[in-house]
């Protein structure tokens, strides 16, 4: 039987910043353990937190975008618990007074608008990361103190589609505002997913199950779908009492959720205001100032592409889906490319390249906007043919050369000399008397064959339109 699912999300995202949120160690991704660490990150005795003002600005910016109520003061709390990945024995977070509360934002779910309610958004620090081996555990403090934004929604989603549409929307905002890269491969996102089910007519929510630390969008989708299925099956078989308020985790190997702890084991975090960070006044002027910094987001860019560049809805959507792609496109426009040509090349050829591997983004593609624009111009100026253009594109990737270098290397430039083309046309006519006769007898497709012969003789360098015109002129 199908039940109504109710889903809430707590979405943690590592922020982009030069330094960590409470220390001056570099906030960066490193494959080398313990490379970006300051004494504060390891909680050496006597160290004190210093707040990163850029992170505060970005947190306020996000709270504003989510239409949250922003408090008068920025202040932090301590969340106290012991764990080997938590050097201070507490996490600095925002509990009593988050940077944003009671927000809402409209998202698009399969063509329909849905309003998502935001419970709160707050700024906090990440813990160190633990690596477990057979009989040892190692601690890497690179991640300790990395700024995190935690966004908590109300339980307002009814399907994995809705939840994922929301996450994609937030990811897009984070990317466009440069708040976060949201890169799951770098462990930058984590979500706690709350799922319950109920009969459509029920007034009260069912028993809520929390699945902690799900670390990619695809796993979040699988988690939600698995939990709905698990809970529904229990309910179907009259065992709904086995759905208990508990914390579970997603197990990627078995593709199931596994019990972690029950509600009775819940930790009392003994929150209290962090005394080492004086509260920071969020003035109206500051909010105004931050507002000015908010760049055009995806929707705004999409609208511009459709209105100003006359691109269609589909292409515009593809271009803005990823900010780097959109930036790439805009760079091409800035360099003077025709919007439609640039769009075609990017949405087909370039994105095909990007999609070849999960490991790369558009920034890793050898062909940069200036090269693409150069290629487009060569075609537009009829220096090379469309087909040659495609060949040049492939060779650029292969040989890591610019369009003009490829054209030069392979001697591909279109022959502009009319006499030369005339000579080639005459040669073809002399060598194909039979074909011309057939043509005159009504086999008009022989024209294409004859032009093809001209192209062949020119090694593809003749302008095919010009060659065709000449051929008609000579044999008519």
């Amino acid at each position: 039987m199908a039940y109504k699912a109710v889903i809430g999300l707590e979405f943690h995202c590592e922020m982009k910043s030069h330094t960590k949120v409470f220390s001056n160690a570099i906030n960066g991704y490193s494959k080398v353990s313990n490379e970006y660490v300051s004494p504060i990150d390891m909680a050496f005795p006597g160290t004190l937190p210093i707040v990163n003002k850029t992170c505060i600005r970005k947190a306020i910016e996000m709270a504003y975008i989510l239409n949250c109520k922003i408090p008068e003061y920025m202040e932090f709390d301590r969340k106290n618990y012991f764990y080997p990945d938590l050097p201070k024995g507490y996490q600095i977070t925002q509990f009593h007074n988050p940077v944003g509360v009671n927000g809402k934002i409209d998202i698009n779910v399969n063509g329909k608008v849905k309003t998502v309610l935001i419970h709160d958004i707050h700024l906090e620090e990440d813990a160190a990361s633990l690596d477990h081996y057979y009989d040892t555990t190692t601690i890497d403090y690179n991640r300790a103190g990395v700024p995190l934004l935690e966004l908590v929604t109300e339980p307002c989603f009814n399907s994995s589609d809705e939840a994922l549409a929301f996450l994609e929307h937030i990811k897009s905002i984070y990317e466009y505002t440069d708040i976060s890269e949201c890169d799951s491969k770098k462990g930058q996102i984590r979500a706690d997913v709350n799922v319950s089910i109920m009969d459509e007519k029920d007034r009260e929510l069912g028993t809520k199950v929390e699945v902690k630390n799900v670390n990619s969008f695809s796993n979040i989708r699988e988690t939600i779908e698995y939990e709905i299925k698990r809970q529904s099956e229990l309910k179907d078989s009259g065992r709904y009492n086995e759905v208990v308020q508990e914390t579970r985790r997603w197990d990627d190997e078995s593709k199931t959720t596994i019990h972690m702890r029950s509600k009775a084991d819940a930790v009392d975090y003994k929150y209290f205001v962090e005394p080492n960070l004086p509260r920071y006044k969020i003035t109206k002027e500051l909010i105004e100032d931050i507002k000015k910094d908010i760049p055009p987001l995806a929707d705004e860019r999409k609208e511009k592409y459709m209105k100003e560049y006359n691109l269609n809805d589909y292409d515009s959507t593809v271009l803005v889906k990823n900010k780097k792609v959109s930036d790439y496109f805009e760079e091409c426009i800035k360099l003077g490319a025709d919007a439609k040509s640039a769009c075609n090349w990017i949405t087909t050829k370039i994105l095909a390249e990007v999609n070849k591997s999960e490991e790369i983004t558009i920034d890793d593609v050898f062909i940069r906007p200036n090269m693409l624009v150069e290629l487009i111009k060569l075609i537009d100026d009829k220096k090379i043919t469309n087909n040659q253009g495609k060949e040049v594109f492939a060779k650029m990737l292969e040989e890591k050369l610019t369009p003009s270098e490829i054209v030069k290397k392979y001697n591909m430039e279109v022959i502009e000399d009319e006499n030369l083309i005339d000579n080639l046309v005459m040669e073809v006519i002399n060598e194909n008397a039979k074909a011309i006769e057939d043509y005159h007898n009504g086999r008009t497709n022989m024209l294409d064959y004859l032009v093809g012969q001209v192209m062949k003789k020119s090694k593809g360098k003749a302008n095919p339109v010009q060659a065709k015109e000449k051929m008609i002129e000579k044999i008519k």
């Binding site: 160290t47 004190l48 210093i50 106290n80 003994k270 929150y271 080492n276």
Partner: protein, 483 residues
């Protein structure tokens, strides 16, 4: 030579009457000489050399550092087994500032474990003895700093003050103890006890020296967000004894002997002595009034302290897990190792405070204990700020008499003296500048009085102390008994 104050030593150094090297060597030897009797030190830094003498008054001069401060390449234990072998790789800001100005640290002094205690008896290296009478306690937690400065092994030692940890031991040891306004001196590198109360300060034998040392180590620090810019405050240069017309007050409920049911002889003498000094204030041209404060508020003082300080301490000291530093605990998994480290490392007194701190922070208790304690703290501060609008400073006797016997440190006080015993905590609640100076003797043991003023009004507080000190005969006194 070592009994001289900073100014005198500076002149001797400048005039080549002694080299910094020699002075430092003498100081180190003096430290060793008193160590057996007083047990003041966790570490005596034998290998240290003198420094170049410059215009800085503290240059080339030896001093002691409470072992609660992080000192680069020098053992820093907090007098706790949890840190018994911890050698930091960075200096506390106050230490770095003094180092930059050429002061030479020669010893790390014993404290009550991690600053949590007022007896000088709970450090991991044992009890600190009062140099005026070895059967007596120094009070704490800056016990070794007080004992060593009173013994005259150097002119000053750093302390930290969360409730009265500088100002009480100063009184018991007959010296000066100065807690500046909160945020004037950076706390970076001071092992945190209760962050909202912790203050870096100094123990000296004169008000001038206290001013000189705090001048040398204060300043806004980008590593401590609670510090503020005090570059326009020059403490030492502002000492002029000009206190005429200043208005002082004392709290009648704790300073008038008739408010105690069965006062002992010590308390009587102590309050009598204090009242004589009130007259001295008047002789200096200041007015002194007794004011009344709601008894309920006053009796709440010690509980507010217990709740707030224990709550912050239990959180602050959660970094002591033996994972990153400190002896690694035994256990099959990290959580067991942490538990073992903490079970073995902390003394019962500290554990008791952690239990209290955790209890008052638990979600079901927080409103009743922790948040109420913060509210009462606010009420006390409001009342004090109201009084400071009318008066320049509060004066008070320190504690209920001279140093107590070590053998009955278990507190034999009657209940109605608790408020007086804990009165100086007011200074930490409001972050007020507060200084203790010696003001006499009872049974051959020194006693002290305290001057507390409004926030950032350190100059005024020091000036009142300076004027009073000049009219008494206890300036630069040394406990010669240990020599």
């Amino acid at each position: 030579m070592l009994e001289k104050n900073i100014k005198e030593l500076h002149e001797d150094l400048v005039n080549n009457k002694i080299t910094s090297d020699k002075l430092v060597k003498k100081s180190i030897k003096a430290c060793h000489d008193i160590q057996e009797k007083t047990n003041s030190f966790v570490t005596i830094i034998d290998e240290v050399k003198g420094e170049t003498v410059t215009d800085e008054l503290v240059s080339g001069i030896p001093y002691g550092i409470k072992d609660i401060f992080s000192t680069k390449d020098i053992l820093s234990t907090g007098s706790s087994n949890t840190l018994k072998d911890y050698v930091p790789f960075f200096d506390a800001t106050c230490v770095a500032n003094l180092k930059k100005k050429g002061a030479v640290a020669v010893a790390k002094t014993v404290l009550d474990e991690l600053g949590m205690g007022g007896t000088g008896t709970t450090g991991h290296t044992g009890v600190v003895h009062n140099p005026w009478n070895l059967d007596r306690m120094t009070a704490g937690s800056s016990a070794g700093s007080a004992a060593s400065v009173a013994s005259g092994v150097y002119p000053f030692a750093l302390g930290s003050d969360t409730g009265d940890s500088i100002r009480k031991p100063a009184a018991y040891c007959g010296i000066v103890g100065y807690k500046p306004t909160y945020g004037m001196v950076s706390r970076y590198g001071m092992f945190q006890f209760a962050s909202s109360l912790d203050t870096v300060g100094v123990l000296t034998r004169s008000v001038e020296d206290a001013a000189i040392v705090v001048d040398a180590m204060k300043g806004q620090d980008e590593k401590d967000m609670t510090t503020w810019d005090s570059s326009d405050i020059h403490l030492y240069d502002s000492l002029d004894k000009n206190v005429k017309g200043k208005k002082l007050f004392y709290i009648k409920e704790v300073c008038d002997i008739e408010n105690y049911d069965n006062p002992n002889e010590e308390l009587k003498s102590h309050l009598e002595n204090f009242k004589e000094k009130v007259k001295l204030c008047e002789k200096l041209g200041m007015s002194v009034e007794g004011v009344s404060i709601d008894k309920t508020l006053l009796t709440a003082l010690p509980s507010v302290y217990v709740v707030i300080s224990c709550a912050e301490a239990t959180s602050n000291m959660s970094n002591l897990t033996g994972i990153v530093f400190g002896p690694r605990g035994d256990g099959d998994n990290p959580m067991e190792m942490i538990k073992d480290h903490r079970t073995k490392g902390f003394s019962p007194l500290i554990k008791r405070r952690f239990v209290i701190g955790s209890y008052v922070l638990q979600s079901e208790n927080q409103e009743r204990y922790f948040l109420n304690a913060k509210r009462v703290r606010r009420l006390i501060v409001n009342k004090m700020n109201e009084l400071f609008e009318k008066y320049d400073a509060m004066i008070a006797p320190v504690g209920t008499g001279p140093a107590k016997l070590l053998k009955d440190d278990k507190n034999t006080l009657s209940k109605d003296t608790t408020v007086l015993e804990e009165l100086l905590q007011i200074g930490n609640y409001g972050g007020y500048p507060s200084i203790t100076i010696p003001n006499g003797f009872i049974n051959k043991l020194p006693v002290g009085m305290n001057i507390t003023g409004k926030v950032k009004d350190d100059i005024n507080v020091l000036n009142i102390a300076y004027a009073l000190e000049s009219e008494m005969e206890y300036k630069n006194q040394i406990a010669k008994e240990v020599k």
